[in-house]
């Protein structure tokens, strides 16, 4: 296949960037999108042009490191991460735009690479259960209703990639946060810190420059793990209830 790429290039955090156009011939439909970018970089390197910086690591959709806005859509397709997107989803002659996540809370470092450390700080504010090593009771001492355990697992599937923020017109991190609050809030082990957790996480989220949720739903649609919007309802519900605790 012959592909035309329009890619955002930005030399550093404090410089302005712009879209650059590249042509690539002989793209195989079996290649992944990132392998196609590897090919382009190999090509640029051989021409003496600096390769394009982009993040990726596991390349199997679980680490959450990769993330590009492809033709205006985070990760390019429903239900996958960028590394799981294959070129068979495109046609010969297609023109594809590639941009980084765009959000105040995720500043660009270079080209397509952004800084998502704000997510770590939200988890650090309260996204955990305090259980020091060695202090745990026997695992079977607390049975967990299967329905709740399964729901908690569904929430815990979040990979922290930030697609929800990139997709949201308000650049809100509420789906990310909702997933964590739901995961821990459904489990018996998560109850003692349930109300302090939500207050701390929400205030950190707001301080980092993420916007609020206005029920657009673009987040769930962009989420590679298809975390449902109801996790935000759980979050809002707990936020309201936390005032009484």
């Amino acid at each position: 296949m012959r592909i035309t790429l329009k890619i955002w290039r930005q030399a550093g955090p404090n410089t302005s960037g712009s879209m650059h156009t590249y042509q690539l011939d002989h793209v195989s439909p079996d290649e992944s999108f990132l392998e196609m970018l590897d090919m382009l970089n190999e090509d640029l390197n051989s021409k003496g042009e600096e390769p394009i910086a982009f993040d990726s690591d596991c390349r199997e959709g679980i680490c959450g490191m990769c993330g590009l806005v492809i033709n205006g859509r985070p990760h390019g397709k429903k239900g996958v991460t960028t590394c799981q997107l294959h070129m068979r989803n495109f046609k010969d002659g297609d023109e594809i735009t590639v941009e980084p996540w765009r959000a105040t809370a995720f500043p660009v470092i270079k080209d397509l690479v952004v800084n998502r450390s704000a997510f770590d700080r939200i988890i650090g504010a309260g996204g955990f259960i305090s259980a020091n090593t060695g202090s745990a009771p026997e695992a079977h001492s607390v049975p967990v209703e299967k329905k709740k355990a399964d729901k908690a697992f569904e929430a815990a599937a979040c990979i922290g990639c930030g697609a929800c923020v990139a997709a949201c017109p308000n650049a809100s991190g509420m789906l990310f946060m909702g997933a964590k609050v739901t995961h821990l809030g459904l489990l018996p082990q998560g109850q003692p810190e349930r109300w302090t957790r939500i207050r701390a996480m929400v205030s950190r989220h707001d301080a980092e420059g993420f916007g609020g949720c206005t029920n657009v739903g673009a987040c769930s649609d962009a989420c590679p793990k298809e975390i449902p919007q109801e996790m935000i309802s759980f979050l809002n519900n707990d936020k309201r209830n936390s005032a009484r605790h």
């Binding site: 195989s28 679980i62 490191m65 450390s117 745990a136 301080a207």
Partner: protein
């Protein structure tokens, strides 16, 4: 020290683990914990520990040391500690809980792991691992790890390769992710930040360790490169822990993440840390086959699939191009069930992998034909794939049950291959997955450099010559939560060690070496990318030091690697600048280290003239083609000392003593 052996290495004095106590094996860990010196809480504040890597072994250690009150400096090359490659482990984590009352025990887990490792692991370390395993599950459940549960609300288990009990705990096909997020959250709870100014852990994400600092014979710090800005930083401490993972990416194509590398461990090796059993690599049997020459990585399909899927190839080579659904039952060869009736599809990984290779070598592989250059230099066309079939499972359990158990794996397969595994059998082939070798450590996980500790996949200690499924997560968390925090205190109790000035000659020298290397890469003016060298190295390693190794092949590989390394240093092209995010520069540094490690792996594989576990020497096999050990000659750990630039490495043997388990020819028939 001996003269040069085979022109490749010298042999030095034998070594021993001096830290494990004697007595009954079930009391040794308790004894060691009691004997290890204590550090009182007020003194912990005066001590600093550097931890490189934030996967299960590193993240868990950071959290635990931070909780205890030590100052911790944590480093990872990813943009967040949550992304370490432990996250990609799918199938599960073993623990001797015996919740199924199927005859499991700590002793059985110990026995299975020693046998699974083909009797090349230390009994003391493996017993401790088995002993700690139940505590890991308790700890993870308390943190909110959402393991699979039964309707009664209790934890579910499944079985895994190489064992006949159900002791594997899991969270669908995302067990590694859930365990890592548990450790990550525990770590973040300790990280100094806007909401936790008194946090004990200082987190350095997007930082790569590029050199180890040794002062007065002790590991005292690291040189790190801030990957966002290119700044070269010195970090000093009382002890250094490497939890930086394995070196499977020496093969270029593997199931490892793109960034996994040996730089931290190799830099430490060059500064005096012995490298244990570098040739022990694990080739995982169930991965998605290679599709084309642009491929950047291989994707694992969890071994748990072998619980319900059946592996087969056509009986006749002429059927290999047929639609598998059209091949009748009597024309299929369920070869693992045929050769190993008692373990069937659940034989250990090394055996399942080698048999898949054998079937394809016989011409009965399926999928696309690939052009290969064989060890003899001739070109050949081979189909590299075998079927993993769920038709019988779907009939037995129903599609919904199969989907609930394996849904995400099936989706992943469909996304990558464009085929629907509910309709047609999956095609799988072995791929490099894990490295049992790593830096040599004693019972305390301390390397041959005082004050340098190594945990998780980065060390060599627990899996011998082959790792059983669901044991990597167990080892990572055992080391990180329970072993290292208990053993490192014995070393820290003699601290704080004398303050090191940043102008100390050892620090200055390490800094200068790092800068010189970077400047070299940016100024060679060569023509080839670091990636292209990496790919070529990978092909050499896979062909000659992969699933089957021979003396002439390994010698060829060593010569080829030396030529390639020479060319790399004069002809690699790295564009961009030193003081900015520069991914080409990062790769060049990692490839440089892989090029040295690859040679040591081949030398180790060449010197070990026996087959054991994942190390299969064609010259040493039983009549029916199984690995044949030579316990009289090779029942030892090969710990390699760096011999100096362009000098031969030095082999130190640590004899393996089996006091409790009798050495046997492994049989899964």
């Amino acid at each position: 020290m001996t003269d040069l052996i085979n022109g490749l290495y010298r042999e030095g004095e034998p070594i021993q683990d001096t830290k494990a106590p004697g007595g009954p094996i079930e009391q040794r860990w308790t004894k060691r914990r009691f004997e290890a010196k204590l550090v009182n809480p007020a003194n912990r504040r005066k001590l600093t520990v550097i931890v490189v890597g934030t996967g299960l072994a590193g993240g868990a250690a950071c959290a635990t040391l931070g909780e205890a009150g030590y100052n911790v400096k944590a480093f990872c090359y990813q943009d967040s500690p949550r992304r370490a490659h432990s996250i990609a482990a799918q199938g599960g984590i073993n623990a001797a809980k015996n919740y199924k009352e199927d005859g499991d025990s700590v002793y059985r887990l110990f026995y299975d792991t020693v046998k699974g490792g083909d009797y090349r692991a230390r009994e003391n370390n493996v017993y401790r691992l088995a002993e700690i395993s139940p505590n890991i599950i308790d700890q993870c459940v308390a943190q909110g790890v959402p393991f699979a549960r039964e309707y009664g609300g209790l934890l579910d288990n499944r079985s895994f390769g190489g064992v006949q009990v159900s002791r594997t705990f899991y969270a669908r096909g995302q067990t590694g992710q859930q365990l890592l997020i548990g450790a990550y959250q525990a770590l973040e709870r300790q990280v100094k930040g806007p909401d936790n100014p008194a946090g004990t852990v200082e987190m350095f994400a997007r930082h790569e360790m590029v050199e180890l600092v040794i002062v007065d014979g002790r590991a005292r710090g690291i040189i790190a490169r801030d990957m966002s800005t290119g700044e070269i930083q010195t970090h000093l401490a009382d002890a250094v822990v490497l939890a930086s993972g394995g070196y499977g990416n020496v093969f270029f194509l593997s199931t490892n993440a793109m960034g996994c590398n040996t730089t931290a461990t190799w830099r430490a090796h060059r500064k005096g840390a012995y490298f244990g059993n570098p040739c022990y690599t694990q080739i995982h049997p169930t991965c998605i086959p290679v599709a084309g020459d642009q491929q950047s990585k291989l994707t694992l399909m969890s071994e748990s699939l072998r619980n319900d899927g059946r592996i087969w190839v056509p009986k006749r080579a002429e059927d290999c191009t047929k639609d598998p659904r059209q091949i009748p039952e009597e024309d299929r060869d369920y070869y693992l069930e045929r050769i190993y009736p008692s373990f069937g599809n659940l034989v250990p990984r090394d055996i399942a992998s080698r048999q898949a290779k054998n079937m394809c070598d016989e011409g009965r592989g399926v999928g696309n034909e690939l052009l290969e250059v064989g060890p003899d230099g001739t070109e050949r066309r081979v189909r590299r794939g075998v079927y993993l079939d769920f038709v019988e499972a779907i009939q037995r359990m129903g599609k919904a049950a199969v989907e609930a158990k394996y849904g995400n794996l099936f989706d992943m397969y469909a996304e990558i291959t464009g085929e629907d595994p509910y309709q047609t059998p999956m095609r799988i082939y072995p791929a490099v997955h894990y490295t049992m070798g790593g830096l040599w450590v004693d019972y305390d996980l301390e390397s041959s450099i005082p004050g340098l500790f190594v945990s998780g996949e980065a060390n060599f200690s627990d899996h011998g010559a082959n790792r059983l499924g669901a044991s990597a997560l167990m080892q990572g968390l055992s080391d990180g939560y329970f072993v290292l925090p208990n053993t490192i205190r014995d070393y820290l109790a003699s601290g704080p060690y004398p303050a090191v000035d940043s102008h100390h000659p050892a620090v200055v020298e390490a800094q200068e070496n790092v800068k010189a290397r970077i400047n070299h890469f940016l100024s060679t003016g060569g023509t080839r990318s670091a990636d292209s060298y990496h790919k070529e190295l990978g092909q050499i390693m896979w062909e000659y030091c992969g699933m089957e190794r021979t003396e002439p092949g390994l010698k060829t590989a060593i010569a080829k690697i030396r030529d390639l390394r020479k060319d790399f240093w004069s002809n690699v092209r790295v564009l961009g600048k030193a003081d900015e995010l520069n991914q080409s520069l990062e790769k060049a540094g990692r490839v440089a280290d892989f090029l040295e490690l690859g040679e040591l792996m081949c030398i180790d594989a060449l010197h070990r003239r026996e087959s054991c576990g994942g190390h299969f020497r064609a010259e040493s096999q039983t009549e029916d083609g199984e690995a044949l050990r030579h316990d009289d000659e090779f029942c030892y750990v090969a710990a390699w000392e760096w011999g100096g630039e362009n000098e031969a490495p030095i082999l130190h043997k640590e004899p393996l003593v089996y006091e409790f388990i009798e050495l046997k020819q492994r049989s899964y028939k």
